[in-house]
């Protein structure tokens, strides 16, 4: 199963299938696909040991475009299918591809339990804050006021934060990335995949047809840098084109402040330093975002603890190991008697 069939330095295209990609022009899924292929190339695991499991949605078509094994399952159940697959064969490198509807609306429960159980899956949640495939309805991440075919008057439902949810579920690796940032995306994916245990990456993804520009506040040339907080372990939580802003914590009130750094503003030392191992800080970062704060991107939380013991099957071995005799003994393990 581990025959080194993969080139030592594979090109991302090595992981591309021959299928025509069928997303809309301008869809953020293209960029993410590219990022994934780069991450796969970087990790250089054999194609045959890699499986992409997806649910249903535009994003969930991704497995067709990769030259690995793939299973395009049913709406919301990819984490559950992948859990069985991983338990059955822990040697496989399993990625779960899901959308904000697939993974957080219908599939929220399986997501919760995959994270809680800390199954070693690489979970990618494509969040375009809308249902793409079914033509633009509200999703659980759609912002208040979103107009859609099911909310023609504007949504009146509070959205859930994918990152906050993942932390609440006990996720040990939680990150957020932006579709178009090819300089950062593959690295985050590689880290997620290398993390032993469940890793959860929220991918902010533009749906050019039903929710175009949902993340332009982040990608905007002008305003973007002030809205993006790229967090990196050990580095201060600074943002802005020249890092001119930063986050400070008031220890008494336990409240965050967005402050200007430098002369006239606050001193560098007062700025919080990112510690991706700190669940409390992660929880804090999970609650912030526009309009009062920038949106944290990068690895928000990574629990370095040795992976909690978690359900892992004994089924990895290709051949069965019990003998007929052992099973005969199993049948005879209780209350036997001899009749003559």
């Amino acid at each position: 199963m581990n025959a080194p069939t993969v080139p030592t330095k594979p090109d991302p295209s090595y992981f591309a299938s021959e299928q025509t990609v069928r997303w809309c022009p301008g869809c953020g899924d293209y960029a993410i696909l590219k990022g994934i292929q780069r991450a796969l190339a970087e990790r250089a695991r054999p194609r045959e040991d890699t499986v992409f499991v997806s649910g249903i949605g535009c994003s969930s078509r991704l497995p067709y475009y990769l030259a690995t094994y793939g299973f395009h399952t049913i709406h919301g159940r990819a984490p559950a299918v992948a859990t069985g697959m991983k338990i059955a064969n822990p040697d496989l490198d399993i990625w779960v591809v899901t959308g904000d509807g697939d993974g957080l609306s219908i599939g929220g429960n399986h997501m919760l339990h995959a994270l809680r159980r800390d199954i070693d899956l690489n979970i990618l949640l494509f969040n375009n804050e809308i249902y793409g495939l079914t033509k633009g309805q509200l999703s659980p991440t759609s912002r208040l006021g979103t107009r859609s075919p099911t909310s023609p008057g504007g949504s009146s439902e509070r959205p859930v934060s994918a990152v906050r949810f993942a932390l609440g579920a006990g996720g040990r690796f939680v990150a957020r990335a932006l579709d178009v940032q090819q300089d950062r995306l593959p690295e985050i994916l590689v880290r997620a995949a290398n993390h032993p245990g469940a890793s959860f990456v929220e991918l902010l993804q533009n749906c050019s047809v039903y929710n175009d520009g949902a993340f332009s506040f982040l990608t905007d040339r002008e305003a973007g840098p002030r809205q993006r907080l790229h967090v990196r372990h050990g580095e201060p939580l600074r943002y802005g084109a020249d890092g001119e802003f930063g986050l400070r914590l008031d220890a008494r009130t336990m409240k965050l402040e967005a402050v200007e750094v430098g002369p006239g503003g606050c001193s560098e030392e007062e700025i919080l330093v990112h510690d991706e191992h700190n669940p409390a800080l992660a929880g804090l970062l999970a609650t912030i975002g526009p309009p009062d704060f920038p949106l944290p991107l990068g690895v928000i939380y990574c629990d370095p603890a040795a992976p909690a013991s978690r359900p892992v099957g004994k089924a990895a071995q290709p051949a069965i190991r019990t003998t007929d005799e052992e099973l005969t003994a199993m049948l005879a393990s209780e209350g036997t008697y001899q009749l003559t």
Binding site: A3, D49, T50, Y69, G70, T83, G84, L92, G313, A319
Partner: protein, 618 residues
Amino acid sequence: MGSESGGVRERTRVAVGVVRFAGDSGDGIQLMGSRFTQAAAERGYDLATVPDYPAEIRAPSGTTFGVSSFQIRFGGDAIRNPGDLADTLVAMNPAALKVHLDGVREGGTVILNTGSFNEKNLKRAGLESDPREDGTLKGYRLVALDIGKQTLDAVSGLGLSRKNAARCRNMYALGLVLWMYGAGIEPARAWLEERFGAGTPVGRANLRALEAGHAFGETAELAAGAPVYDIHPAELTPGLYRTITGGEALAFGLVVGAHKVGRPLFFGSYPITPASPVLHRLAALRDNPDVTVFQAEDEIAAISSCIGASYAGCLSGTSTSGPGMALKTEALSLACAAELPLVVIDCQRSGPSTGLPTKSEQTDLMYAVWGRPGEAPLPILAPKSPSDCFDTVVEATRIAVRFMTPVIVLADGYLVNASEPWLLPNVADIAAVPAKLHTDPEGFQPFMRDEALARPWAIPGTPGLEHRIGGLERDADTGEVSYDPENHQRMSDLRAEKVARVADALPAQKVEVGPPSGKLAVISWGSTYGVVREAVEELRTEGEEVSQIHLRALHPLPRGLGELLAGFDRVVVAELNSGHLRALLRAEFLVDVEGLNQINGMPFLVRDVKAGIRGRLM
């Protein structure tokens, strides 16, 4: 009943005994039942048992809804069901008497624990007067004794608390009943020693109570009118036996079935009454390196995890009952579309919805056949007895792998909890039909088919076979997603034809009892087998021209069944639902199949089946 035991009284020779134990959960009823069963089994009787639990975990003591019971039928004849009516009822309290007296045959014996017949308990049982005095027990032979007090006397001096001492009363009652049926206490003694340790106070107290109960009969303290029996052992094939419940047999069937197709077993399930024993039994096999058990967050995740594990190369199984089957509907359809092997065990219970969780029915048959939107056919088998659960599941695993298909096994709550003696098979004697994993990339396509129309099992980790499957329709030639109308027709036909061909891999239908043509055939399926068989045999003894046909495969229907049915003037399906198999047979064979139906959560009684058939023979 390892050792014969005499006693002074003349024993009545009978062929079969039926004993029912009933009382509060705290009375240790199930233990009494299982120990009596073991004694009877070791004495060489054929037997059938069935427990009946209250729906509550620990219902308030003394209430009718808190009554727990256990019935055993044993003897020298082939015993295929636990019997309609008991010869002997052990009623540990008034509520037990109230609930179960109806289940005792006329002239039967009622052993009453008089110590529990106080005002409080009578009231809790909702009795206005004392049944010992108001004529309720007329027509029964009464053995009234204060079991509680006798037990306390017997175990006094061992330093047990009153509460713990009183707990031994089930052993006292057991000893007495063993004696009544001419059996010794050896097996129970051995078990007590193993369970509590030889010299522990609790172990010794239980043993003393057991002995005291036995002695109570033996020393002729027993009321003169009380009957004592002598029952001849059965002529069972010599060999190593155990008693087995359907729940255990279903679990073992999966383990051995997976082993025989040469794949590790992945079992993903979610607890639910009455299916949980299968999950528990498998979970207990944690040292078996080929068995992985996963308790999922719900039934959807359970079957989804199975689908993932099957894709990864395991033989997967899941078990549940009605509400859980409902939740598995969508993913089961995915398993049909993806054509992956999977065994789904449905332990049917009374519906609709939560229904009567601890009661048994056969009301999921049509759901199993038709209960998936779209065309998603799959094979369905039903076991007929506790031990047949093993064989049926082994067969199901073979079909699942041979045809790359999910298979439903329709057990039921009755079967899961019932038990019978099982001549232990030697696993080496069971035919191995190893799955062929596909490994050759040459010309590979995920929906190419072999002569059984099965697609290849190509698991991740195999170089060169990287492919993508899923719930969207696939091109029959390339395996890629296809929206082509002709292809969809072709694939629909292929999926149907594949399942239809399963019938070729199974034995042609035969009659079970009686001639293969004639006046009337009674058709049974699943757990009604034993009752119907006994009814038919009795009717035949009584001179009636009637045959039994028993179906193990419900879909596809067995080869030869149509011809068989055509040979009978009348055909009656006896089933515990509104007429599911009846409708299937009528639609398939255009035969005016009649129905003998019951939906009350209980197994058929032999007398009801006999009456139903007799009514149609006139």
